[in-house]
């Protein structure tokens, strides 16, 4: 007992009597404080939560399908796929077979494509946000907020109104990509000064870009036929309603390219946080990194916007929360944000299509409802911390 007290009493003295940390063991210096364990735990929790929610979500709707039947249906379809690619030897156990005659069709032509789309678009939006924040060196940059999404949307609505079909089903994604690219470059050139993007300039640039794009969308809406008008309105609200496998087939590769490209930039984005000159002195080719990052932001945003409309704030909320848990290093940030974005958008879409019976709420409305106040809180915090609008 008394020995313990003596130890406790001696402890502070030991610390203060050590003005030279030089002699400390170098092993202590190399110890890591953001253990990979934390990253693994979060990754696996997100994977499990996303898988569980996907299964539950597939059972929800006008036709309720119990979970064992969903798993059974998935096993059946997987077994079919395995035998067509010559792996018929591998068989998954089938727990139960869908009892309702329409259950299988509902699952495979309506719900599962939509769930897949939600996962893809969520991942694309979250990674796009994290990437944009990295290259703008500002945690408030987000494709929806700064007008990249509306740039993509205005181009996509031009595609609808003009009836252009030169690239088949890829026409409107292509338009969206070009629109998003132009908007990103515009914002990047306008909002930066001295290698940094000030919050106030960024937000004001976003207002200007959104205003111009809003006018463009309004004009397109005015010029369009009744049917086209409906299509354009659907864009502005953002929805995953009516997703088909063909749509998934367009979005999946684009999202994959975007995420892989973003991960390849991760290390350079870390160095960029030190400043552009500092990053160049560490060997980063700034101009090339910048152009690649902007093209990738446009690719990821276009993947989401072209088929699902403007779904804002996912790219703001998800990377921010991931950064709080894992820190700002981009490799972990980008990959875990992809998972988090997928989970968030799947949850939001499940709410959108089940909250009100026989109605499909616009998902863009839901994300903005949550993301708007979150943005406000972030803005306020940034302002308090940097003592102004830095």
């Amino acid at each position: 007992m008394s020995a313990a007290i003596a130890r406790v009493a001696a402890a502070p003295g030991d610390d203060s009597d050590d003005p030279t940390p030089l002699d400390r063991d170098s092993d202590a210096v190399i110890a890591h404080h953001r253990p990979a364990r934390r990253r693994r735990t979060l990754t696996w929790s997100l994977v499990v939560a996303t898988a569980a929610l996907a299964v539950v979500s597939a059972g929800l709707g006008q036709l309720a399908i119990p979970v064992p039947e969903i798993l059974g249906s998935v096993a059946l379809h997987t077994n079919d796929a395995l035998s067509t690619i010559g792996l018929g030897g591998i068989r998954l156990p089938v727990a139960a077979v869908p009892s309702h005659p329409n259950a299988d069709a509902t699952l495979w032509s309506i719900r599962i494509p939509r769930i897949t789309m939600a996962l893809l678009v969520g991942a694309a939006l979250a990674v796009g946000g994290a990437l944009m924040q990295g290259v703008f060196r500002n945690p408030l940059a987000e494709p929806g907020v700064v007008g990249v999404s509306s740039g993509a949307a205005v181009a996509a609505s031009v595609a609808i109104v003009s009836g252009a079909t030169f690239a088949g089903p890829l026409t409107s994604p292509l338009f969206a990509f070009v629109g998003g690219l132009v908007a990103t470059f515009l914002v990047y050139l306008a909002a930066r000064s001295g290698g940094r993007t000030e919050v106030v300039t960024l937000v004001l640039t976003g207002i200007a870009v959104n205003a111009v794009c809003g006018a463009g969308i309004a004009l397109a809406t005015f010029l369009s036929s009744t049917q086209q008008r409906e299509q354009i309105v659907f864009w502005q609200l953002g929805s995953l309603n009516g997703t088909r496998w063909q749509d998934v087939a367009i979005v999946a590769p684009v999202t994959a390219i975007g995420i892989v490209g973003a991960l390849a930039l991760a290390h350079r984005l870390d160095l960029l946080a030190l400043g552009e000159r500092q990053a160049r002195h560490l060997g980063v080719s700034i101009e090339r990194t910048r152009v690649i990052a902007i093209v990738l932001v446009a690719v990821l945003t276009a993947a989401a916007v072209a088929l699902c409309g403007i779904i804002a704030f996912v790219g703001l909320v998800v990377p921010h929360l991931v950064r709080l848990v894992l820190g700002p290093a981009h490799r972990a940030l980008l990959s875990v944000s992809a998972l988090g974005g997928a989970l968030l958008l799947l949850a939001a879409d499940t709410v959108a299509r089940t909250a009100v019976p026989y109605a499909d709420l616009p998902i863009g409305m839901l994300t903005a409802l949550v993301g708007g106040p979150f943005f406000f809180w972030l803005l306020r915090r940034t302002r308090l911390r940097s003592g102004g609008w830095g």
Binding site: T20, P21, L22, R24, S26, A28, V29, I30, H32, H33, R34, R137, N138, P139, R196, H267, D270, L271, A273, L274, G275, R277, Q278, R280, H281, L282, G283, V284, S285, I286, R323, G327, P328, A329
Partner: protein
């Protein structure tokens, strides 16, 4: 002290061909010449201090030497090749640069920032020495207690030390530093410049912008005095620093007296504060120039 030992420097014979050289360097912003016709050759084994009054062009010269500012006229060569001819990664393996402001835009830990200094060596055999270089840099800058803190919440001086450690971890033969001591306390001012001296003594080269003339004279083997974009003197502290020259360029009387192989430099106080304003004369004198505190014993 560490497994690294002396700074690894490619064996350029000391004092022969310049590793970094500016010839006829002119830098113009708009119609104003910030530097005009500067010639400076830095050789392996040299610690060169750039001094001069505000606006003399010290930082611009350092920016031009590091490639941040293009030369309007003249050339800057690293190892005999124009800077523009080398890729950023090749430059990053030859010379490290410490800039004046070091704002980090996301809350990275100090450890992560120092480790970023090893970025140019990723995927190369030199990466095997990453841990040793980081450990040495951390010891040099005395930032071990700060390693797990976010750089965004460190004080200005602590952030400057983390940035210095990052530049040390890069372990390049040539180091360029823009006012590395500006926000440091006396212990760390002395320590940083002393580490640079050790680097040049081990065969490396360093160019450092300093405001403290006495600090420059104490550690730098060579001092370059700049004024209005031109080099006014260049040589060992005894050659380059004279009372007449310094008093002229700083427009303030400055006393230079020899001490050992170098000189001591201190400003002459012509006006005494009124006794009402400050309690006593000796205290008042130190108060006027806090940088002199550590040398008061010699006065």
């Amino acid at each position: 002290m560490t497994a690294v030992g002396a700074t690894p420097v490619e064996t350029t014979p000391v004092g022969t061909t310049p590793v970094l050289e500016a010839r006829g360097l002119t830098v113009r912003f708009g119609s104003r010449d910030i530097l005009s016709g500067v010639d400076l050759a830095v050789r392996a084994g040299e610690l060169v201090a750039l001094v001069g009054p505000n606006g003399a062009g010290k930082s611009t010269l350092l920016h031009a030497l590091s490639g941040d500012v293009p030369a309007s006229n003249g050339v800057v060569e690293l190892d005999g090749r124009p800077l523009r001819a080398s890729s950023p990664i090749d430059l990053a393996r030859r010379r490290s640069v410490l800039t004046q402001s070091n704002e980090v835009s996301f809350p990275f830990s100090a450890r992560e920032v120092v480790e970023m200094g090893r970025a140019p060596w990723r995927g190369r055999p030199e990466a095997d020495a990453d841990e040793a270089h980081v450990a040495r840099a951390v010891a040099d800058a005395e930032i071990a207690p700060l390693l797990d803190r976010f750089v965004t919440e460190l004080s200005g001086g602590e952030r400057a030390r983390v940035a210095f450690a990052r530049v040390r971890a890069q372990a390049c033969p040539i180091i360029l530093l823009d006012e590395p001591t500006a926000s440091l306390d006396i212990r760390h001012q002395e320590r940083v410049v002393e580490r640079l001296r050790a680097h040049s003594d081990a065969g490396g080269a360093a160019v450092v912008v300093l405001h403290d003339l006495d600090l420059a004279a104490a550690y730098a083997g060579r001092v370059v005095v700049l004024d209005a974009g031109r080099i006014r003197s260049d040589g060992s502290p005894r050659e380059a620093l004279s009372s007449a020259l310094l008093s002229e360029v700083y427009r303030h009387p400055i006393d230079v007296h020899p001490e050992g192989h170098t000189v001591r430099v201190r400003p002459v106080r012509t006006t005494r504060p009124t006794s009402a304003a400050l309690p006593s004369a000796p205290h008042a004198e130190r108060h006027l120039d806090p940088r002199r505190k550590d040398h008061s014993a010699h006065d």
